[in-house]
């Protein structure tokens, strides 16, 4: 409030840095402000994590609350790490994550590079390309099950048209060899635009003056690409990989809609496997141990990756 006589803001009273409202210290006021956030964080993040770790050491089942809960120590962890089905799910997840990231980065970066060139209809093409990522994964999953249908699916007809094969002679989601690729294709179709957008932001952040200087030095377009474009867009590219990597490691909805984890267990990713253990078999203790292992894996990999990302940014 302004001083009526001087027209200036009143001078702060002595000790205002250390005393806030009603004699509380600034430090105390600060604590009061952040306490609700800390409480919420403890309640919805830290407490469930501790509780999950505790449950992972027992045979607790959430559907049998009356049953005696036995302390198992590390038995659940031992069973998980020696279970071939869990390792199969891990392998399926690794295959899915590796190929989706590779394809999305390659196609996404290429699209961003092309869109970054100034041409007529640039904005329209950008909008069309990003449409798939605006759809719900459940809708996309359902929609692609029809596209993959051997008798009426457009995808099979398209492949048949290109190769001359009978469209109903192969089933993308029913064949053991093709099913893992069917989910990779759909995820790539849906999320490449996201990678493209991040890469586009990276490409547009490179000042034109650097390219102009390179032109003066008579650097070829190829050399400009490898020594200017790639290094300067790399942090953005790595960020896109981090986001998509974390997302795809916990992929669930799209794959459940498409294949349900089948045929057999060939596309049963860890998140689907974990859901079955936790909410279909109701082995809560076992599923908790499984969740802890996945958490440690993702957290560890993400930490290493973020360190590498920071190093690239510092360069």
């Amino acid at each position: 409030m302004l001083d009526k006589k001087t027209g200036q803001a009143p001078a702060p009273s002595q000790g205002s840095n250390t005393r806030g409202m009603k004699g509380l210290s600034d430090r105390m006021v600060g604590w009061i402000f952040i306490a609700p956030t800390i409480f919420l964080l403890l309640a919805i993040n830290i407490f469930p994590l501790i509780w999950t770790i505790r449950l992972s050491l027992t045979n607790y089942r959430a559907n049998r609350t009356n049953a005696e809960v036995k302390w198992l120590g590390l038995r659940n962890y031992e069973r998980i790490l020696t279970d071939p089905d869990i390792w199969n799910a891990m392998q399926a997840t690794a295959h899915f994550v590796f190929w989706t990231l590779t394809l999305q980065v390659l196609i996404g970066f290429t699209l961003a590079y092309l869109i970054n060139k100034k041409f007529k209809g640039n904005d329209l093409w950008t909008t069309i390309i990003v449409l798939p990522m605006m759809l719900s994964p459940a809708v996309v999953g359902n929609f692609w099950t029809f596209l993959y249908q051997p008798q009426i699916g457009l995808f099979n007809y398209f492949i048949g048209f290109l190769t001359g094969a009978d469209p109903s002679s192969f089933s993308m989601i029913g064949d053991v060899a093709l099913a893992p690729w069917s989910i990779v294709i759909v995820d790539t179709w849906m999320w490449t635009p996201f990678v493209m957008l991040i890469c586009l932001a990276g490409l547009r952040s490179i000042p034109d003056s650097i390219y102009e200087a390179a032109e003066c030095d008579r650097a070829s377009k190829w050399r400009q690409f490898w020594t200017i474009t790639i290094p300067m867009a790399l942090p953005f590219l790595m960020l896109a990989v981090l986001f998509r990597g974390i997302e795809n490691f916990k992929m669930f909805d799209l794959v459940v809609q498409l294949t349900g984890g089948g045929p057999g267990s060939i596309t049963e990713l860890t998140s689907i496997n974990l859901k079955r253990e936790a909410f279909e078999k109701w082995r809560t203790g076992y599923a908790s141990a499984y969740a802890v292992i996945l958490f440690v894996t993702v957290f560890g990999l993400a930490s290493i990756y973020v360190k590498a990302l920071n190093k690239v940014k510092e360069r």
Binding site: A62, N63, R64, T65, P150, P263, S265, R276, K281
Partner: protein
């Protein structure tokens, strides 16, 4: 005298009004799967609303999510459902975990006798432990896996002649699984009215219970047993007997030779679609789907025939039980009104109307009535099928047992991994581990 009469009249009015307040109208919620019979039940329940003054709400969940959604509701002690028409396999867990109200005293008080209901449905939907007089549900909807076939195709003279020449017998509803496969092979890839058709639609669904229901429907007649009849939970040599292995091999052969392309994840609704659209000559499905075929423009009007699950190689004949019982949820605050509903639903006239509306009644006075076999084209097949039913485990751990079966069967039948023996040996190991965890072994 007049004064006395007035006082008595006043007292009577007061007493009557107090009674009316005690039996207050409730809002009841009934939970079930979202399917045709549920719509019939909504219509049927209007009579209950009119008679009782209670109002009925319904919570229907599509089959693939039904167990997940409703078991979550029960396990969390939810108050959403007052009445639950739960799957037969839930009975063990729901009884042992206190989700359902035990109905013995209520049945005794209301004169509802379980002997009035089809025996298999009482054992399948109401009793826990099995074969003991402890009742947790009233049989509500009888169901069983059976088969439909395109009667109009079977009756074509040119197809009959070709079939007879090839197989040396008439083209008719099969008596054995071997005959069924011959018919499926005969139709596979055949052109009928300018369209390519296929042999059979069978259950292959991976996510919930589909392939287990389908494969078990065959395995029972091949000699599969869940356990040693003399020693509970002794499964070695029963689950993976030579007969069971042959049955699973047969199911895979049928899947490989005679199903339409892209049938790797099909259950009830996919079977209905395949049959109604004229894709297949034979279809495995639960009996609840049959009324829908009779009224369908493509396959109704006598074009569809029905037959009981065929016999195995040794002449044994069994079929997979479906269906559900109706229970009162123990977490409900309106249990009295919910019990009123069950009392009303058990009445013979209500059960007769239930059958007329497309609900498969389990009451003997309805199903054993002389006019019953002629009441619908599928009525006799339903009766014959209900006489040979077997059901999956109804243990509290049924979900774990089921998911292991789904994985083992899908891995072998659809994905083609390993052999039938390896699949069933693996199943014995999985089930043994589960029963050990439960302290039953």
């Amino acid at each position: 005298m007049n004064r006395k009469m007035i006082l008595t009249a006043c007292a009577s009015v007061l007493f009557a009004s107090s009674l009316a307040t005690t039996a207050k109208a409730e809002d009841l919620t009934l939970c079930w799967a979202s399917w045709d019979p549920a719509n019939a039940l909504v219509e049927l329940s209007k009579d209950f609303e009119a008679q009782s003054g209670h109002s009925m709400n319904f919570e229907f969940v599509p089959w693939p999510n039904f167990a997940d959604r409703m078991l979550n509701e029960l396990n969390s002690g939810g108050k959403l459902c007052d009445l639950m028409i739960g799957d037969s396999q839930w009975i063990g867990g729901s009884a042992e975990n206190g989700h359902y109200v035990k109905l013995n005293d209520f049945f005794d008080a209301e004169g509802i006798k379980m002997t009035d209901f089809i025996d298999a449905t009482v054992a399948g939907y109401s009793e826990w432990p099995k074969n003991t007089p402890n009742y947790w549900a009233l049989p509500a909807f009888g169901d069983v896996v059976g088969w439909t076939y395109r009667k109009d195709w079977f009756e074509r003279p040119e197809l009959q002649a070709e079939f007879k020449e090839k197989y040396g017998r008439d083209l008719a509803a099969p008596d054995t699984f071997a005959e069924l496969k011959d018919i499926a092979e005969f139709f596979q890839g055949r052109e009928i009215d300018g369209t390519t058709v296929y042999g059979a639609s069978i259950y292959t669904e991976r996510g919930s219970e589909g392939i287990t229901m389908g494969a078990m429907d065959v395995l029972y007649s091949y000699g599969f047993l869940y356990e040693n009849p003399e020693v509970p939970y002794d499964m070695e040599g029963f689950v993976n007997s030579d007969g069971a292995i042959a049955g699973l091999e047969y199911y895979k052969e049928l899947y490989d030779c005679c199903t339409p392309p892209g049938s790797s994840n099909g259950y009830m609704s996919e079977g209905i679609d395949a049959f109604k659209s004229g894709q297949v000559a034979l279809q495995m499905n639960f009996a609840f789907t049959w009324p829908g075929f009779e009224s369908d423009a493509n396959v109704g009007n006598g074009k569809t025939g029905y037959f009981v699950n065929p016999k195995g190689p040794n002449g044994d004949q069994f079929a997979q039980l479906g269906g559900q019982g109706i229970s009162v949820v123990s977490y409900s605050e309106k249990q009295d009104a919910a019990l009123e509903y069950i009392k009303w639903f058990a009445k013979p006239d209500v059960q007769a109307k239930w059958w007329e509306m497309g609900g498969f009644s389990c009451l003997k006075s309805v199903t054993l009535a002389p006019e019953f076999p002629q009441s619908q084209p599928y009525a006799q097949t339903f009766l014959d099928s209900m006489a040979v039913v077997k059901d999956f485990w109804a243990e509290p751990s049924y979900a774990t047992l089921l998911q292991d079966t789904q994985r083992r069967f899908h891995d072998y039948v659809v994905a083609g991994n390993g052999t039938a023996k390896e699949a069933l040996d693996g199943l014995v190991r999985d089930w043994t581990e589960t029963f050990e965890d439960d302290g039953k072994l």
